[in-house]
């Protein structure tokens, strides 16, 4: 790395004075996604900025700082990247700021302790691409997230943003746009996987106006934060996609419905809409055409069911967010009874790429029936937690073990939960399953919005089923009986099993209730609510039976059914468990076998997790 020459610096200063950001100058990217935010990344950005200003007096390097959206590998945050050199630093703290400015920025020296260590070779790697977490990823929906400053429309435009809109409005008729989206094979990323092109075509075929386009940003699945990252990291891609969609179906008004908990996303989108309006991408006669369109934000009220399309529309209308039966589809009668296209955040973010590169190009990626990529939030008991975007059809094993780096603490993989509360748990036997809409559905789970929660042998599958059912019991809107009553009864039965009152006939009863709900519930939420129960019974029946017949929780999670013991042959008396025990139930002298006082033990499992020798056993 060498210091840029004088001409470069002048050019950069010229850009600076214009208030725009360019790619050709050295830039420090500081991740400000949710994970890094909580690890103080804005303070690091601020310190870097002032250090660089300070150093700037006698140093010829003056990088720009961008506060970007999530760069993905939250586990190793806060992350910073220096481009175009492409150096990635992880777990950066305020104490490192000086060294980064003085060593890396001033004299081009790399700081080894901030680099990623490859799990395969054990050697440090310099760039993001070389990090095995990123190597297999293909970024379409996340193409700008972590690369651009979400608060600067110019940065988006510099990266080709609004080019697709310009092409659309100036060169393409609505029919051609729809045909292109249809040809791409894009399916809705919100969960159900309905072909986007077909949805648009149907909506466009209705003559009545006004028509609406809606973006579903009510990301409520526990363990999922893809949409949040896109809204916070690249808001204009969603806005551009929506404008193109509106042009295609003939809508002049659109809504972005954002979850109440996502305050930062609301703020980022609000700013982006204002900027897009100022530049003439939103409003009357967009880019000099006869097409007019504008967008507003609706902030959700904290109800999971509002992620269901008809409930979401009721909520936008200012009503209670209850779903309706879909005898008539929303494309015909949606918002205020008018034709409406509703797509999810990630779907909209894919649109500009499809229009720029063409549908045929897009469908080269992924599988025949599930084209393109999918963003997943890889969380739970996996080493590299974070956000990943991979081609459809990737094997679960690659996702969890290559990208995710395997299971935390060297424990054993047990299951991966996909599809949120309506999805299911997939066991080890199915790790070679390709991740696409149809394969996951066949396995009894679903793609859902893309949460992927990895579970190890310390996760009890009955407890997981209970957790989801309890979640849904809280969130069921109560409008239809199968869902309202069915979920509650399931929750009671699962509670009984977890607390040692289960009977063998309970399993059939659970499956029976589940079938009824899948048949008779009003909306997708109720129909898919039994999935976590039916998949865990299907794949982990033995674990249910251990709870019921032996009154034992093999994972050591259900407190009433758990007893922990220290294996004397394995215990070396290190004392870690004794230190971590919140009730002082563990006794033993150093280097002597430790014992657990069952009277005092509250079965929190801290000792299991702290033991390096795996000496704490579940009886």
């Amino acid at each position: 790395m060498s210091n840029p020459n004088q001409a470069d610096i002048r050019m950069r200063e010229a850009h600076l004075s214009e208030g725009t950001l360019r790619r050709d100058c050295r830039t420090v990217l500081v991740c400000c996604g949710p994970g890094c935010l909580a690890n103080d990344s804005p303070a690091i950005a601020k310190a870097l900025r002032s250090k660089i200003d300070e150093a700037g007096l006698d140093v010829k390097v003056h990088p720009l700082i961008k506060e970007t959206g999530c760069q993905g590998l939250c586990e190793k945050g806060p992350m910073i990247r220096i481009v175009p050199d492409d150096i990635a630093y992880y777990k950066v703290s305020l104490n490192d700021v000086e060294a980064i400015v003085e060593k890396t920025l001033r004299s081009g020296e790399v700081i080894p302790k901030l680099l990623h260590i490859s799990a395969k070779t054990g050697k440090p790697v310099l760039t993001l691409r070389e990090n095995e977490f990123y190597t297999p990823q293909v970024k379409i929906a996340l193409r700008h997230v972590g690369e651009i400053d979400p608060h600067q429309i110019d940065d988006y435009i510099d990266h080709g943003g609004y080019g697709a809109l310009e092409k659309t409005v100036k060169e393409m008729t609505p029919d051609v746009v729809i045909e292109e989206v249809h040809r791409s094979g894009l399916r809705g990323r919100g969960g159900a996987g309905f072909p986007t092109g077909r949805k648009w075509k149907q909506c466009a075929s209705y003559e009545n106006s006004p028509k609406y386009v809606v973006c579903n940003g009510d990301e409520g699945d526990p363990g999922a934060f893809m949409d949040r990252s896109i809204m916070e990291g690249d808001p204009h891609s969603v806005i551009e996609g929506m404008i193109i969609g509106a042009y295609a179906v003939g809508a002049n008004e659109g809504f972005i419905y954002i979850r109440d908990e996502y305050a930062l996303a609301v703020e980022t989108i609000r700013k982006a809409i204002e900027q897009a309006r100022e530049r003439g991408y939103l409003g009357r006669n967009i880019l000099g055409s006869s097409f007019s369109f504008d967008l507003s934000i609706v902030r959700g009220g904290g109800a999971f069911v509002c992620g269901e399309s008809t409930a979401l529309m009721a909520s936008i209308e200012g009503k209670v967010g209850e779903p309706r039966a879909k005898y008539i589809r929303s494309v015909e009668k949606g918002l205020w009874g008018q034709p409406t296209v509703l797509n999810n955040v990630e779907t909209w973010a894919n649109i500009p790429v499809i229009l720029t590169q063409g549908g045929d190009q897009f469908r080269q990626i992924g599988t025949e029936k599930s084209t393109g990529t999918k963003v997943f939030s890889l969380v739970g008991k996996v080493k590299n937690t974070g956000l990943v975007e991979v081609p459809m059809g990737i094997r679960l094993r690659e996702l969890i073990f290559d990208i995710g780096g395997g299971i935390l603490g060297g424990r054993k993989f047990k299951a991966v939960q996909t599809g949120g509360p309506s999805g299911g748990c997939i066991p080890e036997e199915l790790l070679d399953l390709p991740v696409d809409f149809d394969s996951l559905t066949e396995a009894g789970s679903m793609m859902g919005s893309g949460g992927m929660i990895v579970m190890d042998d310390r996760t009890c599958m009955v407890d997981v089923a209970r957790y989801y059912v309890q979640f849904l019991a809280d969130e069921s809107c109560g409008k239809c009986v199968p869902c309202r009553e069915g979920i509650r009864r399931m929750a009671e039965i699962l509670e009984d099993i977890c607390e040692g009152r289960g009977q063998e006939s309970d399993l059939d009863l659970l499956l029976n209730i589940g079938e009824t709900m899948a048949e008779a519930a009003l909306c997708g939420l109720g129909k898919s609510a039994p999935n976590p129960v039916s998949t865990t019974i299907r794949y982990f029946r033995e674990e249910y039976l251990a709870h019921i017949q032996e009154r034992r929780c093999p994972a050591g999670v259900c407190r009433e059914l758990t007893t922990f013991e220290i294996d004397g042959a394995l215990c070396n008396g290190c004392g870690l468990c004794r230190r971590d025990c919140p009730t002082d139930a563990i006794t033993g002298s150093t280097k002597q076998r430790h014992v657990i006082d069952q009277e005092k033990c509250i079965r929190c499992g801290n000792c299991v997790d702290s033991c390096k020798r795996n000496a704490v056993k579940v009886r």
Binding site: L37, E219, A224, F225, E261, V320, T385, G386, I453, G605
Partner: protein, 177 residues
């Protein structure tokens, strides 16, 4: 209670503040939720008089407004504490022991999720996934996120929100607004 008897107890302050909030919105039902959210933010709950004023303003039955106020979790009919502690109980946090944090908070503050301390300083809510799963378990106090929280760390965090709070010495996290 009829509408008119409710009106006898109206607090003039609340009426005035609610009136100002409503003026910012056109008289259309679609803004009901937004109005209620503004009111919630202002008072930390939805006072009865505010619901009555919205009903009058939009010419809707009071029952419609009441059903919204009770349906959405972001809205509350009872006042919440000055600081709202949200414990994330999303799946990732759940399997990384969010329940332990609830227990620890009970030890510290003597309240359970859904309750408010007697001095009105804190309330606790168990909430659904906050979308910060990679740093599970997560708690949010007001708008500040804290990741990878342990019971020991929790004590330190809560201590920051004692009497000294307000001098914005919040080194553990970053304000989200």
């Amino acid at each position: 209670m009829t509408l008119s008897s409710g009106m006898q107890h109206r607090s003039p302050d609340r009426v005035a503040v609610t009136g100002r909030i409503l003026e910012g919105y056109p008289k259309e039902q679609r803004y009901t939720l937004a109005m209620l959210q503004d009111i919630q933010k202002e008072f930390q709950f939805i006072p009865r008089e505010s619901m009555e004023l919205i009903a009058d303003y939009l010419e809707l039955p009071l029952s419609k407004i009441y059903s919204l106020a009770t349906f959405y979790k972001a809205l509350s009919l009872r006042p919440k504490g000055k600081h709202v502690i949200k414990i994330c109980d999303g799946t990732a946090c759940h399997i990384r022991s969010s329940q332990m944090l609830a227990n620890e908070l009970y030890t510290l503050l003597k309240i359970r999720p859904g309750e408010t301390t007697e001095d009105g300083q804190f309330s606790i809510e168990m909430v659904n996934c906050l979308g910060a799963c990679a740093i599970a378990p997560v708690i949010v106090i007001d708008e500040t996120f804290y990741g990878k929280v342990t019971p020991a760390k929790l004590q330190e965090i809560i201590a920051q929100y004692g009497d000294a709070f307000g001098q914005s010495d919040r080194s553990g996290g970053v304000a989200h607004e």
